[in-house]
Assembly symmetry: C2
Homo-oligomer: 334 residues x 2
């Protein structure tokens, strides 16, 4: 299953609105005979890619005593592609092992029943948590009608996002900037406030290797109370300007719901501390990614402008990125 | 030399006002024949302990072709104990390797010269940085007349030291508390402000295994502008009350200089954000140790109450301590 998850990760940022999924086929002797992952919505599912991968080297009879490992319960409905359960049954697999059940309550367990009826042994729940994390955008959209929201911020060790006046602009390390590009490549949209737009005039695009690969440029969402959107800003003039949407005097929840309806499953908020505080208060943040520079002290701008609520996090992770430290975690929902 | 540093670390927190030092003796075949460290001021130096350790198993003639590895340039002056250079020469070592030179400008290089005159090969600078770090308290006192100052704080990920009103007191994890005990065992004094004394009534003592071992309880220093020191507080009533000193309306620099004159080489500030900011502004902090709890948002109390200066850090390190993350580093002095 670890290898199946590794396969799934190859699809990160590429499969929306589908989740990334990976599959591994193992023959009766325990030899890996095929692997595959879901590359892009509308294209073949991981299971089918793994079957095709096996068929390059082995006859179809090899599946009869084989086990299919897949990170998500196989689909049992005919969407753009045929149902995976049909293919599994047709090839007479002896066993299917999957990590998480279909998050759609109407489909959950359907493949399991269907496969078992056809005398295929089914095991589920293997590496459940890790696989669940991979499809968190998809699950959130399906179960709440809201996108998965990541709050990203870069700050000093005492949580300032600016340096004192006269000490120059905030400079994050190249390693942290590269990491932000990786995060952007995995989300459908980036959201900022009007103040950030007017102050920083950011591009909010994928650049470098992320722009040159198969990733889609993220949608750019600007939320403003004043409705002051200077039309000379990059987001309104560059080649991706059709990917920019503005909202005036709309609640964050309204905006996020609207985005979900457009098929946007994941949003990264790259805003100042005020919008971030607002999102936190309204229980709209699922995940945080904070970059800490090796600096103490700074300007008066706090990364999170809040002093009447607190939220606990779980699954805290840390990583050194050049001179900086990245801390990430998931907000414990109330 | 790595093993010598490992030896030296055994003396951490026990040797003040001397630095922790470790030594290893290797015979002509590269076999380790002795090891030792400085246990406590007034007792034998690391080199002598390593020689004695060798003599338990080997005749004195073994030193003739042996190399002595020691983390600090051996002493060449007769203090409480005889000069280590005398012992090294008497035992006719063939080579001495040390990591850092004596930080005392008047002694620096004296042992080197003295040993070389006696036909002993001398190599220095091996693992210099790591060994230098071990004796930083000692070096700072010797070269500046001020103690080495560590700023310790525990905060949320957005640098608040309190939770919002009504959400209970701040609770650091047991792992972080244990780590604070370890830090306390390695410093000569702990300094807080009068506000912290009145608000928290802390013990500022070594507890548990640190209290039961050979560590000395740290001096407890309270700095206050108002001079309001409630005499019922633990620091004035417990069994270590003779270790408490108060200062009223004295600058932090004045207090630290006074402490240095008392032989205090290291001070940990465990204060609120105001005193910490004051210390930072006055370039009195050498090292920071911040504990981050997996919480975002909090009360209005900021860990560092500053918005007109910033300080860069180097040698940033991070460690997971239960649910918390510890980030430490050294302030780059101007």
């Amino acid at each position: 299953m670890k290898l199946a998850i590794k396969q799934a990760k190859k699809g990160l940022g590429l499969t929306s609105p589908n989740p990334p999924v990976g599959a591994i086929i193992v023959d009766k002797n325990g030899t890996i005979i095929g692997k595959g992952y879901h590359h892009r919505a509308g294209e073949a599912h991981a299971e089918i890619n793994a079957i095709h991968n096996s068929l390059k080297k082995y006859p179809a009879s090899v599946f009869k005593k084989a086990t299919l490992y897949v990170t998500l319960e196989p689909c049992s409905s005919h969407g753009n592609t045929g149902a995976c359960t049909d293919a599994i049954i047709r090839h007479q697999f002896s066993r299917v092992v999957y990590a998480c059940p279909d998050p759609n309550p109407q489909h959950q367990g359907r493949a399991k029943q269907c496969l078992m009826k056809n005398n295929i042994t089914v095991t589920d729940g293997i590496l459940h948590q890790e696989a669940q994390h991979l499809i968190r955008y998809f699950t959130k959209g399906l179960t709440t009608g809201l996108p998965w929201v990541i709050a990203k911020s870069a700050m000093t060790l005492d949580a300032r996002t600016t340096l004192p006046p006269g000490q120059g602009p905030w400079i994050t390390s190249s390693q942290a900037l590269e990491d932000v590009q990786r995060l952007r490549s995995q989300v459908d949209a980036i959201l900022i406030g009007g103040a950030t737009l007017r102050h920083d005039n950011p591009h909010l695009t994928l650049r470098g290797k992320y722009a040159r690969s198969n990733y889609t440029q993220p949608a750019r969402i600007i939320s403003s109370l004043s409705g002051d959107f200077p039309q000379s800003c990059h987001v309104f003039t560059d080649e991706y300007r059709d990917k920019t949407q503005t909202f005036t005097k709309k609640s964050l929840r309204f905006i996020l719901k609207r985005l979900a309806k457009q098929g946007i499953q994941s949003v990264m908020i790259e805003s100042g501390g005020k919008l971030l505080a607002n999102a936190l208060k309204n229980d709209l943040i699922d995940e945080i990614v904070f970059y800490y520079a090796p600096i103490i002290g700074g300007g008066s701008t706090q990364a999170v402008q809040i002093n009447d609520i607190s939220k606990k996090l779980r699954s805290i992770q840390m990583k050194k990125l050049g001179p900086d430290i990245r801390i990430s975690g998931l907000i414990q929902q109330p």
